[in-house]
């Protein structure tokens, strides 16, 4: 048991890959068995990741459940399999395992190359989990890039009409964006002598390693570009609507729910702690981009005739919020940002799932094709309402907590920014409720909608799990924020202390940083 617990994180990380391996050996016609194995694997992964939440020591700011093995031991080039989670990655890990289960469950209607779809989905899950747990820069980059390949196939093979265009746009944007990050990683290795993230952070904190002003800015920009494309921030967002709209439902859920979080995760994990001065220097510009994203995304959502596109653009808006929260550089803002990452994953993932359910029934995403669906689909409509309300930030539901924390955090540093961000909340209420009204309420005018079947048991399972998460995160927030606090404070310490306040605070760092084992 001891042994198992030590390697628990590896188990969670590679279980999906194992499931994919099992599916490879199933006959490709055995659709039902393939689906069941995929679902069982993803649900089991989620189940195995849940204990981490309860075992997590919230007083500890460093990495927990670390696993460390030598990987590349070539002379002068050491890279290790070093993984671990803290109060930031814990929640993204849980989000990933949760959403992948739902993505597997919502993919029953897929009938082409079923085997390969689920193999891709499970490989993708391992890739995404790897990004969130990797503590070695090479390992991180490997997961970061490899994960794009199954996603590329998911969009390109099982997507809608313009899938090929969307797939190539997606992969070129994201891969090209990270090419310079690779250069930055290697450069950082040259400066610090190691690929180990924790070690680099320690070297910076103890001033053993001092980045020259020009260096720090360039390194920051190389990392930032990769993350800004993923988030996506305003001028880099054009891949998102195409990819989200053309992807099959499962793909959109994963894209919106998990992939976008990698950008904001990267900001918190790399940009802030490693390049604090550059972060502060570029902060006004990035904040401006975030605010543009919030308002622009919301305005474009407002005029979308296509429900899926509306949800896609709303992601641009919501993710702008998260970035703004991070840039507040205070505990409440960053906690809100982490919280909101999870919330956005659940709520927007939920919106995509429901839009996907409507698509399964009518093969369209156009809002005008619907109307009055409350009559034939009472159950679906009620859950839709819940998800919409959650997404627009109704109190007692999940998004309210995140948005509230972010707004409070931002308000403390700038009233103007907070006021502009609040416009996004107002607009979100407008476009979401308006969309809901046109789809669900009113007279049932389109005859094609009259006899649609209500939620099946499979769909009900999806909807109920979503509802549980939405409410749980809405009312039990202290349970989660408590676990974020130490990590958030450590990140802020890293941002504030190494350069500016070092002279004033010569004592050793107040928070414990775990030493990587030799």
């Amino acid at each position: 048991m001891e042994m198992l617990q030590h390697n628990w994180l590896s188990l969670v990380l590679f279980l999906p890959l194992l499931g994919a391996g099992v599916i490879l050996f199933l006959p490709s016609r055995a659709y039902e068995r393939i689906r069941r194995v995929a679902l069982a694997t993803s649900v089991l992964t989620f189940a195995l990741s849940l204990p981490l939440l309860f075992w997590f020591d919230s007083s500890h700011a460093g990495m927990q459940f670390s696993v460390f093995h030598p990987w590349i031991t070539a002379p002068d080039l050491v890279s290790n399999y070093h993984i671990g989670i803290d109060g930031l990655s814990l929640f993204l890990l849980l989000l990933t395992t949760f959403l992948t289960s739902l993505a597997a469950l919502c993919s029953w209607p897929i009938v082409q190359r079923v085997k390969w779809f689920f193999v891709a989905l499970l490989v993708l899950e391992t890739g995404m989990l790897g990004v969130f747990v990797a503590l070695d820069l090479v390992l991180f980059f490997v997961f970061w890039e490899v994960m794009l390949v199954p996603m590329y196939f998911i969009i390109g093979l099982w997507g809608h009409e313009r899938r090929i265009y969307a797939a190539i746009k997606f992969i070129i944007y994201t891969m090209a964006g990270s090419a310079l990050m690779l250069v930055a990683i290697i450069w950082l290795r040259k400066l610090s002598g190691t690929f180990d993230l924790l070690l680099i952070a320690r070297l910076l904190e103890s001033r053993v390693l001092v980045l020259q002003p020009g260096q720090e800015q360039l390194l920051f920009l190389a990392f930032f570009l990769a993350f800004a494309i993923k988030v996506p921030l305003f001028p880099f967002h054009t891949w998102l609507p195409d990819a989200h709209v053309e992807a099959p439902t499962a793909g959109s859920v994963i894209l919106a729910g998990v992939l976008l979080k990698m950008g904001t995760y990267g900001l918190l994990r790399f940009c802030l702690p490693l390049f604090p001065n550059a972060t502060k220097e570029f902060l006004p510009w990035i904040a401006a981009l975030a605010i543009i994203s919030i308002i622009y995304g919301a305005l474009v959502s407002l005029v979308q005739p296509d429900a899926k596109k509306l949800v896609a653009y709303s992601s641009v808006s919501h993710m702008g919020f998260v970035v703004l929260g991070i840039l507040a550089l205070n505990v409440i803002g960053i906690e809100g940002a982490i919280y909101q990452m999870v919330n956005h994953g659940v709520s927007t993932g939920g919106l995509f799932l429901i839009v996907g359910m409507l698509y399964d029934r009518r093969q369209t995403h156009m809002i005008r094709e619907f109307g009055g669906l409350a009559t034939p689909l009472p159950i679906l409509s009620s859950f839709f309402m819940l998800v919409v309300l959650s997404s627009l930030g109704l109190p007692l539901l999940n998004n309210f907590v995140g948005e509230f924390l972010i707004l409070v955090g931002v308000f403390q540093v700038s009233v103007v920014k907070a006021a502009l961000a609040a416009v996004g909340v107002v607009l979100a209420t407008w476009y979401l409720l308006w969309m809901y009204q046109r789809v669900i309420f009113g007279k049932l005018t389109n005859e094609a909608n009259r006899n649609l079947p209500d939620a099946s048991r499979r769909e009900l399972a999806i909807l109920v799990s979503l509802a549980v998460m939405i409410v749980w995160f809405g009312i039990a927030s202290p349970m989660f924020t408590r676990r974020m606090e130490a990590t958030t404070k450590r990140i802020l310490y890293q941002v504030e202390s190494p350069y500016y306040e070092w002279a004033a605070r010569p004592t050793s760092p107040p928070v414990h940083l775990e030493e990587p084992q030799p």
Partner: protein
């Protein structure tokens, strides 16, 4: 000159190859005008024996034949690489030759002779022997490029390759002569000593360096000496193209490294700029030209040029890491490029008619294995992690950044930009194979077992290097020590 019996062991792989080549030639007439596959088997056995001989050779490191031959880790590393490439090329040629009705036994003999030349190139400690090795391998490959005798393009390829190749070797020879005139020796260590001691006529030496550079740059196909590459690669029989793009290229890079690091290293300030400019031009020309190709074979030819540019980045680093990175990259590159051209050989069908990207549409449903392997090669060519191509590029970038000069940093940034450019044209093939339906049903040609073996082996090797690059990297670092 004194002959020592142990010298024979230092030349064992070449002797084995020569013997097998002769056996193939002698046995050829007995088979008449029909499939020469038995000869292929013979050549394959010869190559494998030569691989075994390389292991024997490893016990006799040191200088041989009056210091002309240097058996060291560097030469052993490249022997393994070159012989593996030859073995895989022979395997990939089996069915190809039958399909194209090329029933000439010399094909296999020439492959073996070319390999002898490459073996000499990578192990020689002396400029004239390098030249001999280069000519041996070049002449054999000139003929191989024209082996589709009935096809105009193949004839053109052979002619072009021969004319421009001879021209380039003339440059090389001229460079050797000037170097001898300047330093009084053709032995690499002595040239170095003369340069260090400033005993050489330096003006003459710079000219010699420039000429040597031109000759070798032609062989590794870097801009502006790449002009021949697309046409030759397109016209040559696809397995020969596979061979050309990896075997002679690797051997030429080896000779390039040995000459420039063992002999000319004292003049690194001078030749650094040659390499630097050439690297930038090669990467951009290769990638931008590949971007607009619709013929997959030609696209891969341009991509070979681009990859030579990446290798030059590590070359420009001018360090032991740089050499190790070149060696590692050559192996990763050999696997993916050999695999990719083998796929082209298969898909192109009889007469190599179907080379266009549209012929790859729907390949994933017709031939899942071929499509999957090709995807691995293409992703590796981009440099996506978990493939050899990723770590290859990674080590190259690292070697250049480690040296720290800002010019090298720029080189790496250009490398990264080019990687980003290349994503598009490699993925176009993946899109065709997986996302598009075949327009017309292509006549089903069953995948030959030998080719399936080659593809699987190359793909597995590529993934292996992407997962566990340790052992090869150690070997490469150890080999680099021999030069620097």
């Amino acid at each position: 000159m004194r002959f020592e019996p142990t010298d024979l062991f230092r030349l064992l792989p070449e002797l084995v190859l020569a013997l097998s080549g002769i056996v193939v030639m002698v046995a050829d007439p007995f088979l008449g005008r029909r499939s020469k596959q038995p000869l292929g088997v013979l050549a394959l056995v010869g190559t494998l024996l030569a691989l075994a001989a390389t292991l024997v050779q490893a016990g006799y490191t040191g200088l041989g034949f009056s210091r002309m031959l240097s058996v060291d880790y560097f030469s052993l590393f490249l022997h393994f690489l070159v012989l593996t490439v030859t073995a895989l090329t022979i395997l990939a040629s089996f069915r190809y030759l039958d399909r194209e009705e090329i029933h000439y036994g010399e094909y296999y003999a020439l492959l073996l002779f070319a390999t002898i030349g490459m073996g000499l190139m990578v192990a020689s400690n002396e400029l004239v022997l390098i030249f001999l090795g280069l000519e041996t391998s070049s002449i054999a490959t000139y003929i191989l490029a024209g082996f589709r005798r009935g096809v105009l393009k193949s004839n053109e390829a052979a002619m072009k390759y021969f004319l421009l190749g001879s021209f380039a070797t003339a440059f090389l020879l001229y460079g050797i002569a000037l170097m001898f005139g300047s330093t009084g020796s053709t032995f690499l260590p002595e040239i170095r000593a003369a340069l260090v001691a400033q005993q050489a006529n330096l003006t003459l030496a710079w000219m010699a360096i420039a000429l040597l550079f031109v000759g070798l740059a032609f062989k590794v196909a870097t801009v502006p000496f790449q002009i021949w590459t697309p046409d030759v690669y397109e016209g040559a029989p696809a397995p020969v193209t596979a061979f050309l793009s990896v075997g002679p290229k690797a051997a030429a890079f080896a000779a390039f490294l040995r000459i420039f690091f063992v002999a000319l290293e004292p003049a690194i300030d001078k030749w650094f700029w040659l390499i630097w400019v050439s690297a930038v031009l090669t990467m951009f020309v290769g990638n931008l030209a590949a971007l607009v190709q619709s013929n997959v074979k030609r696209m891969l030819a341009y991509s070979s040029i681009a990859h030579a540019g990446y290798i030059l980045i590590a070359f420009a680093a001018g360090s032991r890491f740089g050499i190790a990175a070149v060696l590692f990259y050559l192996v990763a590159y050999a696997l993916m490029k050999l695999g990719a051209f083998s796929v082209v050989a298969y898909v192109a069908g009889p007469g190599e008619e179907r080379q266009g990207i549209e012929n790859y549409a729907g390949l994933s449903s017709r031939e899942p294995l071929v499509a999957a392997c090709f995807s691995v090669f293409l992703f590796s060519l981009i440099g996506v992690p978990l493939t050899g191509g990723f770590f290859g590029k990674f080590y190259i970038f690292r070697a250049a950044l480690e040296e720290g000069s800002s010019w090298l940093v720029w080189l790496v940034v250009f490398g990264a930009i080019n990687t980003a450019i290349s994503i598009y044209y490699y993925l176009r093939v993946v899109i065709a194979m997986y996302f598009r339906e075949a327009r017309q049903e292509a006549p089903a040609t069953p995948l030959p077992t030998s080719l399936a073996f080659v593809l699987t082996l190359a793909a597995l090797g590529t993934v292996y290097l992407g997962l566990l690059p340790n052992s090869l990297l150690r070997f490469a670092t150890e080999s680099a020590r021999a030069l620097h």
